[in-house]
Symmetry: C2
Subunit: 451 residues, 2 copies
């Protein structure tokens, strides 16, 4: 028979078993943490009517989308989780209780040009809190706490959640009389880190801004220091513009609750240069960067918006949300060698090798171990002894149990730890206890390395 | 602005938050149980090259598949998890350790005619054990144990895992000299439950089978009794055909290990009428039915096959696997009213209502509760007190905590159980303990009802 060459589409991540287990751990941490903060899981279809997904229309999205006809239907695959959320909330607004706090971890699709580290199918892990008409500022203050808990549980310490406020920025440009050109200015200021102060200054002057106002913009953008120092420095512009004052009050609220929310000062920074590309955001905005890997960019971003579902409903639905690009984050962590290879990624905690013809006793022991919570595989294939041990080794199974006639008679089993080579004869209950305690301290998914 | 009417495609399940939580519980049980038995999680792309997915070609599959062009690529959405597994194993055979035991819970797509209870996007939850060249029979004996553990954890008791063996059937037809027409006979015999013995007999006679052989077929198919009785009755045909004898030996092995694998006799039956539609199966075959809901059909099926990936590789890769159609199962359970509405489906275990202007103490308490594992939501919206309680009620949040000036001064909080109305003043640590113990006994996802 003619064979078809097996292959996976380029731009589609398909992991080998061990890294897949690491990714699953990260997903489990995301689910547990989001739930700890009172978010409910949501699962919307991967496919929607094109009319729904492209309601906003235009831009890169339309070019990248996977869109196709099936019968009479014009269908498309979702390119993010926000548009399906907007549809869901607009569709079910009458049945939902607001604030509606949901998380969703799901695959999204973008037909980007294939290149290393760019994916056409990738996971996003989103949370959003949607209010009906209004939404209290405390929700915006809570977000850094959620990000902090997740990254800490992943095993990261050297990261910073950078926070700014769009009202503060808009108010600042308004009091300079530059509201209408604020978009241009923010695009230029966004390059501050990359091209430096002088170049930013030059571009702004070239674009025709008065030198006095350019100086003030740069003075504002270069405010540095502890959060308290930055907030104090911002007082200089207070009282001139209502939007600015409101933004400053919101930013102060967000910073104030940090300690009570369990976020150490070292993992949080008020950063006035952050604006987020989307016009969509109207209040607090967030970016999260890894201190030792600034080239990765933000690994968790989002912000406050005033109108989630304006394309589907007249109902005013403000919200705040963040998104983690999980597939890209996982890829980058792997590339940097930050994934903990001490983590048990084996499909089983122990492999049971029956040494007798009759397998009844081995099956009974496996059942007992499983009932104790030990992930157990019985290896009954007819292979040489050495091949069996190599199999356990290759998979990284930490314990092997031998069960021969002598053990069966004595009601014990021989438990061998493959890492140390140590072998002990134990009752089934003791064996379960030994194995469970042996795998208990494997550490976090990510192990940071200093650079 | 012109609004687009929000809608979800027909045939695509999109659940409200409470049932979504119930479905997530079932998925968590599937993941945990599959892992207990030594299966590793796998995640393959939803999209593949059409050439890969349609390698087998023909039939209903080709008509139902979602297939489309993007640039130069002919793409399609997977219609099951078996074909992507075959591709994966063929592609990575050199790196995998065999037997390769994987589970996958993922969405698959079939553009079926829309009708109630039929889905175009649905979850399958599969396990497979793939051998390299050969695979021990014990793997086939282990499968009923996995099915039994899952259904028991779901909360089901009144179900039967029906098992048969294709070698036994093929051998039986061979010893009657009817090998070439065995497909026709099995298709007719498959209707035994629906149309009765007389009608099956009539059809077979009409199709030109000798009346003596028809009697023998019906005698064979109507063997009933305990597993031991059925196996003993099969001895009558032993010694006439090698394939039959091998099938009987395999079926005996599968039945023999039941007790040691923890499967009670009442949840297992040797059923000679089961064949499974696919030509694909070559050994043990499984179907699982709910005793009180026979009209649902099999909710977990599968079997042993000899050649997983023949379209992609010359390598002989025998295996055994089962699949649960999770979306359909969940839908049917809901329709039958079997989902446990006592399950906490709220996004939080407790809702904290701050009764003071300054929210610092409330934030600190929420952080402490979350660190103790209590899923906590702070409700800080400016609403009337009654509206806040209604919110908790609507979501089914079991506990509400009030934190006013008096409580803050005394270092306590007021915990109210919404089900009993009972309110107590507790330290934060005591509150966490009370809430965690209160939600500990909510029962299983499914509650069976007698019919």
């Amino acid at each position: 028979m003619e064979k078809i060459r097996p292959r996976t589409l380029s731009g589609f991540m398909e992991l080998m078993p061990a890294p897949q287990v690491q990714l699953e751990r990260m997903m489990q941490i995301l689910r547990e943490t989001y739930e700890l903060y009172g978010f409910t899981p949501l699962d919307t279809p991967v496919m929607e009517s094109s009319e729904i997904l492209l309601a906003k229309g235009g831009g890169e999205t339309e070019k990248q989308i996977y869109r196709f006809q099936k019968g009479d239907s014009d269908l498309a695959l979702r390119f993010d989780l926000t548009v399906p959320l907007a549809k869901y909330v607009a569709l079910h607004a009458g049945e939902l209780a607001f604030p509606f706090r949901r998380y969703q971890i799901g695959k999204v699709y973008r037909g980007e040009r294939a290149q290393r580290g760019r994916f056409r199918e990738f996971y996003q892990a989103d949370i959003d809190i949607i209010g009906d008409g209004k939404l209290d500022i405390l929700n915006e203050a809570e977000i850094p706490s959620i990000i902090h808990t997740i990254f800490k549980r992943f095993g990261l310490k050297r990261f910073v959640i950078r926070v700014n406020n769009r009202k503060l920025l808009n108010g600042f440009y308004a009091l300079l009389g530059l509201s209408e050109r604020s978009g241009d200015i923010m695009r230029t200021v966004d390059k501050l880190d990359k091209i430096g102060v002088e170049n930013v200054q030059k571009i702004l002057l070239d674009e025709g801004f008065e030198s006095e106002k350019v100086s003030e913009i740069l003075r504002f953008m270069q405010i540095k220091g502890t959060n308290a120092e930055v907030l104090a420095a911002l007082d200089a512009w207070k009282g001139q513009n209502e939007t600015f004052d409101l933004g400053l009050a919101e930013l102060t609220t967000v910073a104030t609750h940090l300690t009570a929310f369990g976020v150490p000062e070292e993992n949080f920074a008020v950063d006035l240069t952050i604006a987020r590309g989307l016009d969509y955001y109207t209040g607090t905005v967030y970016e999260t960067t890894l201190l030792d890997y600034p080239e990765i960019g933000s690994v968790c971003s989002g912000g406050r918006y005033d109108n989630l579902a304006e394309y589907y409903t007249d109902r005013q639905l403000p919200g705040v949300g963040i998104s983690i690009g999980l597939t890209r984050l996982f890829y980058v962590l792997g590339e940097q060698g930050l994934l903990n290879d001490k983590l048990v990624t084996a499909p089983a905690d122990c492999m049971l090798i029956p040494m007798t013809e009759d397998l009844g006793a081995a099956v009974g022991l496996a059942t007992l171990l499983r009932n104790s919570g030990v992930r157990t595989q019985i290896y009954s294939e007819q292979r040489k002894f050495k091949a069996k041990i190599q199999y356990a080794d290759k998979l990284g199974i930490p314990y092997v149990i031998f069960l021969g006639d002598d053990e069966i008679v004595q009601g014990v089993c021989a438990v061998k730890c493959l890492a140390t080579g140590e072998q002990v004869s134990l009752s089934p209950e003791e064996a379960a206890k030994l194995i469970l305690s042996g795998i208990a301290n494997e550490g976090t998914v990510i192990i940071e390395k200093e650079r």
